[in-house]
């Protein structure tokens, strides 16, 4: 089995993503590896990619703090975190993985059936198609995933 000493976990504000962080942290402890948490702020095209995104940056940092705390529960592991601004998250995740030479990208996917069919979404889809390293997709147990999807739909 391949060794996964360097793990990249893209983080968004949903339970599947945090589940992927927890699993990534367990793997990092087992492998005595490094876990990098990454949050990508997608900047709309009407603004330069380097535009000040204060609100998004604040919530991204808060999200990374929560993810870091969750990962730290796994024990004594090295955790890095990174907040990036990009046009779209998928290519930014793949580029970051390549720049850091990670062994695996671990990302959670929600349960959002479109027209009755499950789809992984554009970001996970892009990463699956383009990342040169391993990619692990984490989906929560169906009951939890559908409950989270229902909750999200109700809040819209």
């Amino acid at each position: 089995m391949a060794r996964f000493r360097s793990i990249l976990a893209p983080v968004v504000d949903d339970s599947a993503s945090l589940e992927a962080v927890a699993i990534g942290a367990s793997l990092a402890r087992q492998e005595k590896g490094v876990l990098t948490l990454l949050h990508v702020i997608e900047v709309e095209r009407s603004l330069p990619v380097t535009a000040d995104m204060d609100l998004e940056a604040q919530s991204g940092e808060e999200l990374l703090r929560r993810a870091r705390a969750l990962a730290a529960e796994a024990g004594n592991i090295t955790i890095n975190d990174e907040l990036l601004q990009a046009r779209v998250a998928g290519p930014a995740i793949v580029e970051e993985a390549e720049a850091r030479g990670v062994d695996v990208i671990m990302m959670g996917v929600g349960w959002s059936p479109l027209l009755g069919q499950f789809e992984v979404g554009p970001t996970a889809g892009y990463v699956l198609r383009h990342a040169s390293c391993n990619v692990w997709i984490v989906r929560e147990p169906l009951e939890m995933a559908t409950a989270a999807a229902g909750k999200a739909a109700a809040s819209r």
Binding site: S46, L47, V49, R87
Partner: protein
């Protein structure tokens, strides 16, 4: 530089791919959802699915901060609309693909100076290959000016004269002379035009007929 490309067909796709190599910020706007998804994967997520003829789509694409808009769809009407919106939004450089060369004048009348026509480019190439042809369009410049190449034959009325003695149409000038040996010369007071010289001339599009008559005489060459 931020470049928006209207149309994700073959021209738009390859244009975007080349520009991405140059480290520019690129966005391709493609109307067809399947085509947009297909090229988005190949162009590092730089494709927006939508109709580039709609101002709202272009606004969402950040046209207000674009340095250049290239309208390269297969429809001249769409390209004209994209360019019009881009100009209205203050984009400093606007470029259009013209599929039907006769539409080029329409674009120019609307203030879109830079047009590219594959048909004209191929025609120019063919004309360069044809020995009977004496006047070849080389390039479109700004403000309705063009660069043309004129090769002098034995029947040319300007052979044996100096460039100063040649009566050219208004706003036209001989910029360069390449002799039959391929040596380029800047026209001077003592330069004599000879058979086989290729004159590179700046002229107005509407003056090409007069230029042809002045340099070639009669009805030789194509007037494109």
């Amino acid at each position: 530089m931020y470049v928006i490309i209207g149309g994700g067909g073959k021209v738009g796709y390859y244009l975007a791919r080349e520009l991405l190599e140059g480290d520019h910020e690129i966005l391709v706007i493609e109307r067809s959802a399947p085509r947009a998804a297909e090229i988005n994967d190949l162009l590092e997520g730089t494709v927006l699915q939508g109709d580039a003829c709609e101002a709202a789509v272009l606004d969402g694409a950040g046209i207000a901060r674009a340095d250049l808009v290239a309208a390269v769809t297969g429809d001249d009407e769409d390209n004209l609309v994209i360019c019009e919106i881009a100009r209205y939004r203050g984009v400093p450089r606007v470029l259009a693909r013209v599929n039907n060369p006769t539409n080029a004048l329409l674009f120019q009348k609307r203030g879109i100076e830079t047009t590219v026509s594959a048909t004209e480019a191929i025609l120019a190439q063919i004309e360069q290959e044809l020995p009977v042809t004496s006047m070849v369009p080389v390039m479109q410049l700004h403000q309705g000016l063009e660069l043309v190449e004129v090769r002098l034959s034995e029947t040319s009325p300007v052979v044996g004269r100096t460039p100063r003695e040649v009566l050219l149409p208004p706003e036209s000038l001989i910029a360069l002379i390449v002799d039959s040996g391929g040596v380029p010369r800047v026209p001077g007071a003592d330069t004599t035009l000879t058979v086989g010289d290729a004159l590179v001339v700046v002229t107005r599009a509407e003056s090409k007929g007069m230029l042809q008559e002045a340099l070639i005489g009669g009805a030789h060459g194509f007037d494109t």
